[in-house]
Amino acid sequence: MIQLTAKILEKEEVAPDHYRLALDAPLISKDASPGQFVHVKITSQYMPLLRRPFSIHRITPSGIEILFRVVGTGTRLLSEKRQGDELDIIGPLGHGFKVKENTFTAILVAGGVGVAPLFALAERLRQFTEVRILIGSKTKTGILCLEKFEALGINVQVATDDGSLGIKGVATDLLEDFLATSASPRLPIYGCGPMPMLRILTEIAQLYSSPCQISLETNMACGVGACLGCVTKIVAPNSSSNFEYKRVCVDGPVFDAREILWR
C-alpha cells in the first residue's frame, strides 16, 4: 500500500460514458493482485471531497489500469482528465480474489462495468486454467472489453436486457445454462456487478455447490479500514444478531459469497 502521484499514460473512451485510464504506477502494480482496488483523489479541491475507489482493471509492469463508468460528479470529473494529467492514488488496497491453481474452468460473471476487476483476474487465471466470462448489460454498448477477452483466448458469452447483443436476458441466465449443461461440478465462480445480480449469482452457485467469490461495492471514506464507513453484513453464527459488520475496504472487497448476509 502506497500513496503516490500517478500520471495518466493513456485515456480511452471505451464506450459511451465508460473510460479506461492507464496510470503510471509501477510501485502499485508490483504488489497488486486481481480484485484489489485503488483509491483516487480526483481533484485537489474539496468537491468532490472524498477519494473514489476503483478496481484494478489491469496490472502491467508500468502501472495499473482502471475502467469506470460515469455515474456522478466524481466520475464525470475523472472522465474529463487528459493524458498527462496526474492523480493522487493509494493502492493496492483490500483483499482480491483467491486463486486456486489446480482448478479446471473458471467462470467469471460480470454485470456492466463489473468486468473491470475480472479482466485482471482473467489475465491471471488464464496462465493456468481455462477461463470463460459471461457478461451482461442493459444493451450492447454496455458490453465492455469483449474483444480484449477474446484476444486473450477467453470464451465470452453475452447477455443483454434488450437482446441487442448475445442472448436476451441477464448474465446469470448464461451461468445457469452453462452450469446446467456442464459436466464438471463445482466450477469456481467469480462475480462482479450490481448487488441484485450478485445475490442471484450466489444462489445459483449454492445450488451447484460451486465456490463463489464476489467483489462488493459500498461507499467508502478512508479505504484502509480506519473509518468503518464501508461495512457490509457478514454472516456470524456466534453473534446474537446472526451477523457482524465487516469492512469492504480491507476485509473485502472480494468475499466468499456464502459469507454475505443478503439482508
Binding site: 474539496y46 471531497l49 472524498l50 477519494r51 471514506a221 478512508c222 480506519a226 473509518c227 453473534s239 459488520y245
Partner: protein
C-alpha cells in the same frame, strides 16, 4: 534553529500540536504504511465502549458539499477485546496515544476510564459526550450541563490520566457546557464533534444513510467549529483541542489563532492520509518563516 512546537495538554506533552481525530485514524495501525506516525503529535483511537457494538446499519457514509455525513454508530469491539487485541500493539506507536471512550451511563464511562488508566500505551483519555450516532448516552450527555458535569466528575475520580472532554456542537451554548466539563475536572476540552445532519436520495425518496441522520464533518463545518472553539477558549482556561474541517496547516492556524492549544485532523485523513504529517510540518515551517518561537504567541488579540 528548529522552532519548538511541542505543547502540553494537562500533564501530557505532545511533540507537536497535531493529533489525528477519533474515528478517523482507526487504531493507528491502519495508516502505518502510509504515514510516518512519529511525525504526529498524537493519535486518538476510535471510540471504545464497555460492550462490543455492532454499529449502525449501512450505508453509513455519504458525501455532502465540502463535507461528509457518517453514521458509523461507534462500531467497536468493546473494552475487553480492545485490551486483548489492540492495547498490546499501541506501545509500538511512536507518538502519544489517547483513548476515546463512550458510555451509555456515567457509570459506564467511569468503568472504562478506570480500566484504561493503568495501561501502558495510553497517555490520556478523551471522553466522548458528543457522539450523534448512538441512541443511548453519547451526544445527550454533551447537550446538558448537569449531565456533562456528572459524567466528567465521575470519570475524574477514576483516573489520573490527562482527561480531555469532547464536546458536541449541537448545543445552544457551548461555553456553558465547556465550563461544566472543566468544573467536573476536565484537563482539556476537544471540539467540535460532528454536527447532526441528514441527506435525502431523491431517486429512492429515502435518506442516504440507513440511520437517517449522521454526523457532518469536513471543510463545510469549519466556520462553525472555529466560532465554537473561539467561544470556548474565551470561557475556560484549560487547553482546547480544536477540530472540525481542518484540511491544511492554514486551517490549523486559524484554530490556534482563536486560542486552541492543539488541533485534531479528522476527515482530512480520508482525503489525504499524510494530512496530519504535512500539517505538523506546515506549522513548523510557518513558525520558522515568521520567526515565532512559542506557539502560544500566535494567538489573535
Amino acid at each position: 534553529m528548529e522552532p519548538d512546537i511541542s505543547v502540553s495538554i494537562g500533564k501530557l506533552r505532545l511533540k507537536n500540536p497535531v493529533l489525528c481525530a477519533s474515528g478517523c485514524f482507526g487504531y493507528g495501525q491502519e495508516y502505518a504504511e502510509l504515514v510516518d506516525l512519529s511525525m504526529l503529535g498524537g493519535i486518538i483511537l476510535k471510540g471504545i465502549t464497555l460492550k462490543e457494538r455492532q454499529g449502525n446499519p449501512m450505508p453509513r457514509i455519504i458525501e455532502t458539499p465540502a463535507g461528509m455525513l457518517n453514521s458509523v454508530g461507534l462500531q467497536n469491539m468493546g473494552l475487553s477485546r480492545f485490551l486483548r487485541e489492540k492495547l498490546p500493539l499501541l506501545s509500538n506507536i511512536p507518538t502519544a496515544v489517547i483513548a476515546n471512550i463512550c458510555g451509555e451511563t456515567p457509570e459506564e464511562y467511569a468503568a472504562i476510564a478506570k480500566e484504561l488508566s493503568d495501561k501502558a500505551g495510553i497517555s490520556a483519555l478523551e471522553i466522548n459526550i458528543s457522539c450523534p450516532n448512538v441512541s443511548h448516552g453519547g451526544m445527550s450527555f454533551g447537550q446538558d450541563m448537569m449531565l456533562t458535569f456528572e459524567v466528567v466528575n465521575l470519570v475524574r475520580k477514576q483516573t489520573s490520566l490527562p482527561l480531555i472532554v469532547k464536546l458536541s456542537p449541537n448545543v445552544t451554548d457551548i461555553a456553558s457546557i465547556a465550563k461544566a466539563a472543566v468544573d467536573g475536572g476536565a484537563d482539556a476540552l476537544s471540539l467540535i464533534n460532528t454536527l447532526l445532519g441528514m441527506a435525502m436520495d431523491i431517486k429512492t425518496k429515502k435518506p442516504y444513510l440507513a440511520n437517517i441522520t449522521g454526523g457532518l464533518s469536513g471543510p463545510a463545518v469549519k466556520p462553525v467549529a472555529l466560532r465554537m472553539v473561539w467561544e470556548v477558549c474565551k470561557a475556560v482556561s484549560v487547553p482546547v483541542i480544536g477540530q472540525g474541517g481542518i484540511m491544511s496547516w492554514e486551517d490549523s492556524l486559524e484554530f490556534l489563532l482563536v486560542g486552541a492549544t492543539a488541533v485534531c485532523i479528522g476527515t482530512a485523513n480520508f482525503v489525504n492520509p499524510k494530512a496530519g504529517m504535512e500539517i505538523a510540518q506546515g506549522i513548523k515551517d510557518y513558525m520558522k518563516q515568521h520567526k515565532i518561537i512559542d506557539l502560544r504567541k500566535i494567538r489573535m488579540m
